[in-house]
């Protein structure tokens, strides 16, 4: 039996409603329904059987969404791939044991390739045996080698069945990311509208918000920082915007405060999710607060030694290329250090990114937040570096607006930080850098850059 009947019934209720704006053109739910049927015919013709591992590569387009839904309904195991991981294509298709690949080019022309390969991985075989559709997501590699997380798609879909309010949502998280999948399923299950952009430059994004009267912008602190620096919000009408959600990395307190001052009528909501467990429901204490309540139906949380642990009904089945990260009771250590205040938590940063200066702890986000307030600072990434005197030292890699002598900048920075940061948190070393310090997914890169996985964003400045 088809597993998306409930979703397709909802599409049928709103045939004339726009489900996506792509390249500034609207596409309706009626169109989506007919495209899913067209893909089904094509997959029948190719004799692509249920239980196959199928990679999809292409832009985030209406056609790709129709294909994705047709493949879920066919109970295949999906592997979404995007251009940003092109350098890892071979590696990823091998790890996932991809048997079919459907790629769409810039003109939406599709090509179907069949690989002569059997599935050996026990986890994948177990999922195929249940007859449920699956999803394989690769971690971005910002914390090490990419890991492939295998999900049962039925588990991910479950939480979208209750109807909720839907709004016009602009997205730039792609379908190879749990956040991108989550946004897509949320919008589709409430017959809302997704607005896509060809470029994630703040002006392009703000212009799309104005033209399509976008109400929700799910994004990352890094993008919001770029938005503030570019002042793009002054050049476009953002009055339609009701909510900005931010996640994937710690938000600098100062960025949040400034954003709230500039957009006082927009609700600023922190989100929390992991490719291993899905996206939790969350509620910020207020728009200018970093305190957030996370959890919701199907999620349990626990704090152990200052670190957040989670257990989720929608958790992945496991990694295809790494040992299970779950303990015997199914709990997952998120690696995120948190502070607790009653029901609320504040995410301080990755425990692995914590800098230990002579036994005292420094979280990069706090130092970044202060340095970002300095005049002439465009962006900054703070990391730890081994040092024989204090164990580790705080190092700041700074992008400037205008060129400045390193010595002068250093003096200015120390003076600026003196009243704002404890002395051990003030960067001991400063590097002035010219390349962008964030990934395709608008996430800060704290490791030395791996150009293949996390290359600079073209034309984003």
């Amino acid at each position: 039996m088809a597993c998306l009947t409930w979703l397709r019934d909802r599409f049928a209720e709103q045939p004339q409603q726009t489900f996506m704006i792509w390249r500034d053109q609207p596409y309706t739910y009626d169109w989506l329904t007919s495209q899913i049927a067209a893909w089904e015919a094509r997959l029948d013709q190719a004799a692509l059987p249920p239980g196959s591992v199928v990679a999809i590569s292409g832009d985030y387009s209406p056609t790709v969404v129709a294909l994705l839904l047709a493949l879920i309904d066919r109970r295949t195991i999906l592997v979404p791939l995007t251009a940003s991981v092109a350098a890892h294509h071979e590696e990823f298709t091998q790890i996932a044991e991809v048997q079919w690949e459907i790629s769409l080019d810039a003109h939406e022309q599709s090509r179907l390739t069949r690989y002569d390969r059997d599935v050996h991985n026990e986890l994948t075989r177990g999922l195929i045996a249940t007859g449920d559709p699956g999803l394989i997501l690769f971690s971005s590699g910002s914390t090490g080698k990419s890991k492939a997380a295998l999900h049962n798609f039925m588990g991910l879909l479950e939480k979208f069945k209750p109807r909720r309010h839907s709004m016009v949502t602009l997205t730039f998280l792609l379908l190879d990311h749990i956040g991108g999948i989550n946004t897509l399923l949320y919008v589709l299950s409430n017959t809302g509208c997704i607005v896509t952009v060809h470029d994630r430059n703040p002006d392009v994004v703000c212009s799309a918000i104005a033209r399509h009267r976008v109400e929700v912008l799910p994004t990352s602190p890094t993008f919001l920082n770029l938005l503030l620096m570019s002042e793009a919000y002054k050049r476009h009408d953002l009055s339609s915007l009701k909510r900005i959600t931010y996640g994937t990395e710690p938000m600098p307190e100062q960025t949040l405060q400034r954003l709230h001052a500039i957009l006082p009528n927009v609700e600023l909501l922190q989100t929390y999710g992991l490719s291993e467990l899905g996206i939790l429901r969350s509620k910020s204490r207020s728009s200018d607060s970093l305190w957030v309540k996370v959890g919701g139906e199907g999620f349990e949380t626990r704090i152990q030694d200052g670190t957040l642990w989670l257990r989720a009904r929608s958790a992945m089945l496991g990694y295809l290329n790494a040992p299970s990260p779950f303990d015997t009771e199914g709990w997952f250590n998120t690696g995120d250090a948190v502070e607790v205040d009653g029901e609320y938590i504040k995410i301080l940063g990755r425990r692995s990114e914590l800098i230990n200066v002579g036994g005292t702890k420094v979280y990069p986000a706090e130092v970044e937040g202060v340095l970002l307030q300095m005049p002439n600072v465009r962006d900054v990434t703070v990391v730890g570096e081994a040092n024989p005197i204090t164990g580790q030292v705080v190092v700041a890699r700074v992008n400037l607006h205008e060129p400045e002598d390193l010595g002068l900048f250093r003096r200015r920075m120390r003076a600026f930080c003196r009243d704002r940061l404890a002395s051990y948190k003030i960067p001991a070393r400063v590097e002035l850098v010219e390349t962008a310090q964030y990934s395709e997914r608008f996430k800060k890169m704290r490791r030395r850059q791996d150009p293949a996985l996390e290359g600079d964003l073209d034309g984003s400045q």
Binding site: I389, L406, R411, I426, A428
Partner: protein, 97 residues
């Protein structure tokens, strides 16, 4: 870069670092100025900053990539971080390979 140039360079970085401490900054910086240890001008955090600043400017000027604070420096019988002069000596020695 000879010893006296290094002493000048150390003095420049040192006065930068002490900019927020007028009392200490007022003292003349000479070869015998104590850095870290008894009667030293610096706490460990400032010492780290001085060493990293110095490392960065030496490497920038000479196109080298020396490391001043490493396990070798830490295992010297007498700490190279005692005084301006001892630090200059240690850098000269490190540059000489």
């Amino acid at each position: 870069m000879d010893r006296s140039e290094l002493i000048d360079l150390i003095a420049t970085h040192l006065s930068d670092l002490l900019a927020d401490d007028p009392e200490r900054a007022a003292q003349p910086i000479v070869e015998h100025t104590r850095l870290y240890g008894p009667h030293g001008l610096l706490d460990s955090l400032r010492l780290v900053s001085l060493v990293l600043d110095l490392e960065q400017s030496v490497n920038e000027r000479l196109g080298t990539s020396i490391t001043i604070a490493d396990s070798r420096a830490m295992s010297q019988q007498r700490s190279p971080f005692r005084s301006v002069g001892s630090l200059a000596d240690y850098v000269v020695q490190t540059l000489a390979g």
